[in-house]
Symmetry: C2
Subunit: 184 residues, 2 copies
């Protein structure tokens, strides 16, 4: 069935630093009128960097929305006009100092398609070379390399709950034929 909703009029707009929010009056497929709210986000990238010893680079940051530190895969927003692949290379290098000789696409994901335009592009980076990290001036993070098998156990135990991190790790394990969770 076609449930397309037709925008009639924008009734509110918020311009933020990371996101904009638009509230539209829309006509539903049954001709009823309702409101739809859209959080506009530039989208981003997320990288699972897997080294020759089966370890994955993880970063730990303070996440203001949850007022806690979280371990996640390296990730970041797209700059205006930036394509996902160079953004992935840039973010991995900035946050961890890693450069990779081999890149594999792990697909894209919608984080919250009911209300947000955010779309993340996931990559697997291998054949790693360690350089200098150079995070943004207002970005503070710890970096660690953790065995993929151990990270998969942390997904299974519920310790890792970040969506992009869970999807990136599970897809990496699948692509490289590693049991989840378990022995590498």
């Amino acid at each position: 069935m076609d449930y397309t909703e037709k925008a009639l009029r924008r009734v509110n707009t918020f311009h933020g630093i990371i996101v904009d929010v638009e509230t539209d009056m829309v006509r539903l497929s049954n001709d009823q009128i309702t409101m739809r709210e859209v959080v506009r986000h530039p989208g981003g990238v997320c990288v699972a960097a897997l080294d020759a010893d089966g370890r994955v680079a993880m970063v730990r940051q303070f996440r203001y929305p949850f007022q806690t530190h979280l371990w996640e895969l390296p990730a970041g927003k797209l700059e205006p006009g930036e394509e996902p692949f160079p953004a992935a290379q840039r973010e991995l290098s900035e946050e961890t100092g890693l450069e990779a000789g081999r890149w594999t696409e792990l697909g894209a994901m919608y984080t919250s398609p009911g209300f947000s335009t955010e779309r993340l592009y996931l990559y697997l980076a291998e054949d790693l070379r360690q350089g200098e990290a150079h995070p943004d001036p207002n970005e503070f993070l710890d970096v660690a390399r953790v065995p993929l098998a151990e990270l998969l156990e942390r997904v299974d135990s519920g310790e890792l709950q970040d969506a992009k991190t869970v999807v990136g790790l599970l897809r990496t394990a699948h692509l490289r034929g590693i049991d989840f969770p378990g022995s590498v």
Copy 2:
């Protein structure tokens, strides 16, 4: 390291229908001042309902932010004061008409911890009984039961990109010992 960021002053607030947005001036761990933006979302639930034939209930809706129809696991927002488990039972029943005799927690996930408070609680529902669906008046959706093995292939091909759907399906497959992708 402790990278806790301390709120100094709220400089902007947006009250929307689904989300609120708050812009705070904060003190970073190096004593520098910057701005943090938080999208406040009530959180929600997502249900993988697996029937005795190895099929999972999927719903197809128009998703206004992407102006397209998407197939996803049944899901929905928490009502004010509502606990995740009753919300999961409610949403599954509203969207698909299904009631389940057996519920298993699949853990929680942060959809976008960098800027959003949204947290989703995932469940596996089994021992299903088909009743009448009763979606919200402004909610239009198609429901189908699809073999889990086929859904895992669609995750692998990149056809299914919704984060909660990918995580819910992969965790269900893992919990029930089903290869990804492949033969049930």
